[in-house]
């Protein structure tokens, strides 16, 4: 039995009158690939941002890696994001005037110190060894997303968060990206939480939870 990496109790986030996340109980074992589904506005991104330390809950308990995240101050939270979490968004958020290699090295820089050889190796691992010196604008959507994956895993996170990372990709690129994530997870053993609209994409996970209006309404475990 793997240990639990995320544990929430009564986790709530409201924006004024709007309650984006109603008291939520969720437990994620280490190494799991969890898919999060739901309609637009159902609170998926809200949940992901809380778990990734990008946002603070209004109420409730949020334990990540056994530690109560709410106990950390802003610096501590920033350190948590830097050392514990890798995030991939739908929009790639790459720096447009830096090359693929430099974008990855930037993440190293914010974490500790840049190491070009290691960044190069990470890009080779996602199949972009031939695209090191290209800027994001010169890459296809799938390639951009793979740069994001290289950037997200460069600091060896324990938790990889994806907010509809394949939302803008065609079927072929989507499959490539998901294949890549599966391979990397096998090697690095990180936990994946991935928000998606798409049932097919969700099916890559070990488990899928469904949110509706901020409430966890259903969960489905992969069989077989």
């Amino acid at each position: 039995m793997a240990s639990t990496i995320i544990e929430t109790a009564g986790l709530t986030r409201s924006y004024g009158d709007i309650c984006a996340l109603k008291p939520l109980e969720l437990s994620v074992p280490e190494g799991e690939w969890l898919s999060v589904m739901g309609h637009s506005g159902s609170g998926k991104s809200t949940l992901l941002n809380l778990v990734g330390g990008l946002d603070r809950p209004t109420a409730g308990v949020l334990k990540v890696g056994g530690e109560d995240l709410l106990g950390r101050d802003e610096d501590g939270l920033a350190r948590f994001r830097r050392e514990f979490v890798g995030i991939i968004f739908q929009q790639h958020h790459l720096v447009p005037y830096l090359t693929a290699l430099e974008n990855v090295m930037l993440a190293q820089y914010f974490h500790s110190v840049p190491d070009e050889a290691e960044a190069r190796f990470a890009l080779e691992r996602v199949g972009l060894g031939h695209r090191l010196k290209n800027r994001p604008g010169e890459l296809s959507g799938g390639e951009q997303q793979r740069v994001c994956i290289a950037r997200a895993i460069i600091n060896s996170p324990k938790l990889l968060l994806g907010d509809e990372p394949t939302g803008n990709l065609d079927h072929k690129s989507t499959t490539m990206v998901l294949e890549l994530l599966r391979e990397l997870r096998a090697e690095e053993r990180f936990t994946i939480i991935m928000v998606t609209h798409n049932q097919e994409v969700a099916a890559w996970g070990d488990r899928t939870i469904y949110l509706d209006d901020g409430v966890l309404v259903r969960e489905e475990r992969k069989t077989g």
């Binding site: 974490h111 500790s112 110190v113 190491d115 290691e118």
Partner: protein, 448 residues
């Protein structure tokens, strides 16, 4: 009120010293705090006691030797630190190994406190009012103890990343002591250091010119005298002094910079390896803060020494004239009270010459008449502070007891006769003495 302002630099330095002592010896806060307060109290009490029982030069001399000695110690530590950073496996010096031990936790704050307390006490004014006389040291003690507590809470608020290496610890401590002592002209070490450098250069060049190069200066073109003259100037002393002053702290900073980073190549995971490297770099950068602090304190000390914040008794010279028989008479009582123990300056003009001289009642109760110039310096004159006169040019302090005796930087004595109504002196003797003195100290030394 003025007392408070005068002691502010010393008290600030004391606070930073305690902070540094606490940071330099983590885990021994209790020992550091207790011995710091004890040392400070002993310093204040010791200074006051010694200055009662003996001439004030004794406790001042003790403080100067203590601070000067610590500076010598710093030099050796600095050289060792630099050597160690370039040559591996050079062991720590014994003093460095002491840092962080229980001996150091008790001893360093005690000694530092004693010197700092002594310096503080030396800054207390002599007051006529006996209540104030007692109150002032007590207030100083209270301030010293309170600041120890202040330093403690400040140290707790300081980031834990701010690490102190033994050599940096010593550098900052010594620099702060030097800063503290430089706030008093009687304790300042920078000015005497500059003076030594100047005299050293002077002697060296003199020897070189006279004995080795050419026994007679006739071959040297006058332009060259300009350069040689520079070597005799105050600038040489100042810059030479600066070099000696700052070098140890700079060497220690350099040694920290040169220290190799730990090898992390064996760590397989990239993120972990980079993390360790980044931490090592950060630690190193933080270690440079303390030597930087030392440099700032040293700069402040040199500044205080160059622009001393002491007010001298230096009256405007009164013009006097001679009788037709060539006699100058200065009445005992008249425009000035001659025998009040203070310096009284006079100006006698004859032809194109302006002769400055002064009359003073020494603590021994004897009147003395002297030129406002000495036999070795430019005739910048003297000012009077407590128990001393100071040569403005070389900043040498001359105890009042020895004023009237010739030699060194003492004011050149002028023969005079004392009669019931005042002192009488011969104008011609005075003018000749002035001319001789001024000529020997200005024109022959390359015009500087």
């Amino acid at each position: 009120m003025q007392l408070v302002f005068k002691l502010i630099p010393q008290l600030i330095a004391w606070t930073v010293m305690v902070l540094l002592l606490l940071r330099g010896m983590p885990g021994r806060r209790g020992a550091v705090l207790i011995s710091a307060v004890t040392g400070f109290s002993l310093g204040v009490a010791g200074y006051l006691l010694l200055s009662r029982l003996f001439p004030v030069t004794l406790p001042l001399g003790i403080i100067r030797s203590a601070v000067g000695g610590s500076f010598f110690l710093l030099w050796s530590v600095a050289v060792a630190a630099l050597y160690r950073s370039t040559v591996r496996d050079f062991p720590l010096l014994r003093v460095e190994r002491l840092v962080g031990t229980i001996y150091c936790a008790w001893g360093a704050p005690l000694l530092t406190g004693m010197v700092a307390g002594g310096i503080g006490a030396s800054g207390l004014p002599r007051l006529d009012n006996s209540v104030l006389q007692l109150l002032a040291p007590l207030l100083l003690l209270l301030a010293g103890a309170l600041l120890v507590l202040g330093a403690r809470s400040a140290e707790q608020r300081l980031t834990s990343s701010l690490g102190v290496t033994p050599s940096a610890f010593l550098a900052a401590l010594v620099a702060l002591l030097l800063f503290s002592s430089s706030s008093s002209i009687l304790l300042d070490l920078f000015a005497p250091l500059s003076m030594k450098v100047m005299k050293g250069t002077h002697d060296f060049v003199h020897q070189f010119m006279e004995s080795i190069l050419i026994p007679d200066h006739v071959f040297i073109r006058s332009a060259i005298w300009g350069y040689i003259g520079f070597l005799f100037g105050k600038e040489v002393g100042f810059w030479g002094g600066m070099v000696i002053w700052f070098t140890p702290a700079l060497l220690i900073a350099l040694a920290i910079r040169l220290e190799p980073l730990p090898s992390v190549a064996h760590i397989r995971q990239g993120a972990q390896r980079r993390r360790l490297l980044a931490d090592a770099i950060r630690t190193k950068q933080y270690r440079l803060v303390i030597p930087a602090l030392a440099l700032v304190a040293l700069a402040a000390a040199a500044y205080q020494s160059s622009f001393p914040n002491v007010e001298y008794w230096d009256p405007k010279p009164l013009a006097v004239t001679a009788t037709p028989a060539g006699e100058i008479f200065i009445p005992r009582k008249g425009e000035v009270e001659l025998e009040d123990g203070r310096l009284h300056k006079y100006l006698y003009k004859q032809g194109g010459k302006e002769v400055r001289f002064f009359v003073l009642l020494t603590p021994a109760g004897k009147l003395t008449v002297d030129l406002d110039a000495c036999a070795i310096c430019k005739p910048d004159g003297y000012g009077q502070s407590e128990g001393m006169v100071l040569c403005y040019y070389c900043k040498t302090l001359i105890p009042l007891d020895t004023v009237g005796k010739p030699g060194g930087c003492n004011p050149v004595p002028v023969p005079f006769t004392e009669r019931g109504d005042g002192v009488h002196l011969d104008a011609l003797t005075l003018v000749n003495s002035w001319s001789r003195t001024v000529q020997s100290t200005t024109s022959s030394k390359g015009g500087k």
